[in-house]
Each structure stands twice: as structure tokens, then as C-alpha cells.
Amino acid sequence: MGGVASLPRDNGELVFDAPWQGRVLAMAVGLVQRLGLSWEDFRARLIDAIADHPDRPYYESWTAALEALVIDLDVAQARDLSERALHIEP
């Protein structure tokens, strides 16, 4: 994925490669809508996340942008997020 050689010419690809990708996408949409933010509030952080790690998989940058927005809005602190992540059960 990602190389120009693999650019597909049909519409048959999956929208999400894994379920978590759809969920982080939807969380960003929901956060912006429910808190009455502008999409630009998320987009600016996505641009930064991509610029910081240009070759990182796209939805990992998306997740990093969502974390940054959540932290900047004071919905949670970075430490809350990392501790929660450690204790997630499969």
C-alpha cells in the first residue's frame, strides 16, 4: 500500500483495513459535532500528525491527531490516555 505502483484503478477496495480505523474516524466526526467544533480544529492536528511522521500509516496519524485534540480540549490528559491504553482487555 502507498506506493504509486500500487495505485488502484477500480473502486473495489475496502474502506477500512481494520475495525479500529473506522472507530477512530467516527470518534473524530463525533467529537467535532457534539462539541460544536470546526472540522479545521481536527484537520490542523491531522496535518501536524502527518507532517511529524510522513510515512506512518494514515489511521495511526489520525489516531494521534484525535489524541492531541482530546488533550488540547482538556477532555483528558496524555497520561490518562496512556494508562487507559495499558489496561484495555482484549
Binding site: R9, V24, A26, W39, Y58
Partner: protein, 198 residues
């Protein structure tokens, strides 16, 4: 879409943990809940996609007044057909002509007109596409199987905070009697991004 729990019962990857932590947090705070997330995922997986844009294009091909409205105010004309929502506040439709071929990119991230095209394909989000479509559009289009004649000008539209773009392809010749629905079936996602010519 696969059920990853069934296939990987033991380990969650780090990114899956971070995603789950975010969902848990936002749910606890009452900002989003799993029903909302499920509904958005379901919508983009099945209901919101290039078939919406194809209906817009077909309408513009058969209805000259609609086409004028579409080119003047894409967002409003698209809303006439019932499409709108996230990433759709400002959509500008750019028309291909015998002299001009349009193509859309987002150089900084992945902006894309979700209500009419759904979510962008992986290649649209890839660094090579984002960099090269601005620098050498003709060569990149050729590599993607889209040959633009030398005498046709290529215009590259870089999505911004304010604007998402969709290409209105030229109507293919030889389907004068086709219905709007038949015409919509001719319109591909890639043609509405501008990496294909119909």
C-alpha cells in the same frame, strides 16, 4: 470487513489499545457512544460513497440548469439531491472540458468531499500522490493509466481548510438516449477525483 477479535484472540496491537482507550474515554465523558460510532462506520462502509457523486454528475449531464447551479454553488446543488454532512460544508465542482482536465489532491492531509465520494482511497492519502500530483501531474496521471492529451491543460486543485473539490467529468459520447440512472452507472469515483477520463 473482518472481525479481528476472531482472528487474533490473544493480542491487541498498541494502536488498537489507543483506539479503545479513546473510545472508552469519550464514552465515559458522554461525548460519543458506541451506537453513534457504529452508525458512522456503517454509513461510510455502505451508504455514503461515489454512487452519490455519480448521481450529481448524471443530473448535471441531463439538466443544464442544474449544472449551472452546481458549478456556481456546489454545496447547495449537492444538497438538492439530499447529500451533505461531515466534510461537505464547502464543495466546489470543477468542470472538465475539451480544453481542461481537472484533478484533485490534498497536499497536506486527506481532505476529500465525503458526502459525494465517501472516504478517500488509500492512494489518495499516500505521500507520493500528495507530492507528485502537484509537481508532475501529467506524468503521474499517465502512470495511473490516465492519458491526458498534450493539448489539454491540467488543473490541479489542492483541497484546503475551506474547500473540497469534485470533478465533473465530460459526458462520454454515444449515449444520447440514456436515462439519468444509466448515465450515473458510467461515472466512476476515479473520474470524479480526476485520475480517470470517461
Amino acid at each position: 470487513m473482518s472481525d479481528d477479535h476472531g482472528h487474533h484472540p490473544t493480542a491487541l496491537t498498541e494502536i488498537e489499545r489507543r483506539a479503545r482507550a479513546l473510545e472508552e474515554l469519550l464514552t465515559e465523558k458522554g461525548i460519543v457512544d458506541s451506537a453513534f460510532i457504529d452508525a458512522v462506520v456503517e454509513a461510510y462502509a455502505h451508504d455514503i460513497g461515489p454512487m452519490n457523486g455519480a448521481r450529481v454528475v448524471a443530473r448535471a449531464w441531463v439538466d443544464p440548469d442544474y449544472k449551472l447551479r452546481l458549478l456556481a454553488d456546489g454545496t447547495a446543488a449537492i444538497a438538492e439531491l439530499g447529500f451533505g454532512g461531515a466534510e461537505g460544508d464547502h464543495i466546489e465542482v470543477v468542470e472538465n472540458t475539451p480544453a481542461v482536465h481537472n484533478v484533485v489532491v490534498c497536499t497536506l492531509c486527506s481532505c476529500y468531499p465525503w458526502p459525494v465520494l465517501g472516504l478517500p482511497p488509500n492512494w489518495y492519502k499516500s505521500p507520493p500522490y500528495r507530492a507528485r500530483m502537484v509537481r508532475e501531474p501529467r506524468a503521474l496521471l499517465r502512470e495511473m493509466g490516465c492519458e491526458v492529451p498534450d493539448e489539454v491543460e491540467i488543473r490541479v486543485w489542492d483541497s484546503s481548510a475551506e474547500m473540497r473539490y469534485m470533478v465533473l467529468p465530460q459526458r462520454p459520447a454515444g449515449n444520447e438516449g440514456a436515462t439519468e440512472e444509466e448515465l450515473a452507472a458510467l461515472v466512476s469515483r476515479d473520474a470524479m477525483i480526476g485520475v480517470q477520463r470517461l
